[in-house]
């Protein structure tokens, strides 16, 4: 597929929009359908498209496997860390209301942070799994 000019040009145009849509889904999950799980998969799909069109070697240069490993762990750490932060601010574990005196605002902040953790883990894991399968010698 490496010689196909139309695919290369078109996917280069498409990838920024997929990433932008992923960011929209990530940050807009509290108002409409969406959230960390979906955004993570959409983010990863941009990478999958890049890997399919430009070859897995180039894709691995864009997102090195070590980076996906670190990111997938740090997403879980963000989620768990938000819980610990809530404890430090005087609430129970994962009781986001502790972030602000007004219950609703604290919850909004907490949900937003937690969704980022989910999104980071899901996208990094999906990228890692794709790289593992696609980069294996036939």
């Amino acid at each position: 597929m490496n010689e196909n000019v139309v695919l290369r040009v078109f996917s280069k145009l498409l990838i920024p929009f997929i990433l932008l849509f992923g960011l929209y889904v990530q940050t807009h999950g509290d108002y409409g359908p969406g959230g960390g799980f979906q955004a993570g998969v959409i983010f990863a799909s941009a990478f999958v498209l890049y890997g399919l069109v430009f070859g897995i070697g180039n894709a691995r240069r864009v997102v090195p496997p070590r980076l996906t490993l670190i990111l997938s762990a740090s997403g879980v750490l963000i989620f768990a860390g938000v819980g610990v932060a809530a404890m430090l601010m005087g609430g129970n574990y994962l009781e986001y209301a502790a972030f602000a005196d007004g219950t609703a605002t604290g919850n909004h902040v907490g949900i937003w942070l937690v969704e980022i953790g989910v999104g980071v883990t899901v996208s990094a894991v999906m990228i890692a799994i794709f790289t593992s399968f696609a980069g294996r010698p036939r």
Binding site: G32, F37, V122, S132
Partner: protein, 121 residues
């Protein structure tokens, strides 16, 4: 008299579940088994989401002027279940690739024959 439309989704869920179960237990190909597992899981999702639907309700996103919402809880459970499904599928596929590398086949009966040959008696 049994309400057919009212039970239709449950019956489709059961039919899908049985198609998946049949693929898991009677197809020797490991990829086909995994596909069957996927279909089985989707059938469970259908059962849950069907129970969450309220006639005349809308999607559970608050908007002024709307009073009836479908149950958000099944959506939450199934949303996470779908992502777990892809995780289990990925691990299963990775295992199949390794089985192919080690034994040269992904057909269950051939693998069983290989295992029988290799067992020291």
């Amino acid at each position: 008299m049994l309400d057919v439309i009212g039970h239709y989704n449950y019956w489709i869920a059961i039919a899908l579940m049985m198609v998946g179960l049949n693929m898991i237990i009677s197809r020797p190909n490991l990829v086909k088994k995994l596909v069957g597992l996927n279909i089985f899981q989707t059938a469970v999702f259908l059962l849950y989401i069907t129970m969450g639907k309220v006639a005349g309700g809308t999607a559970p996103i608050v908007k002024a002027g709307l009073a009836i919402y479908s149950n958000p809880l099944p959506s939450v459970l199934i949303l996470t279940a779908i992502v777990v499904t892809v995780a289990t599928t990925a691990v299963g596929l990775a295992l199949i690739v390794r089985i192919k590398d080690a034994y040269g086949s992904i057909e269950e009966d051939e693998l069983m024959d290989r295992a029988k040959d290799e067992t020291p008696s």
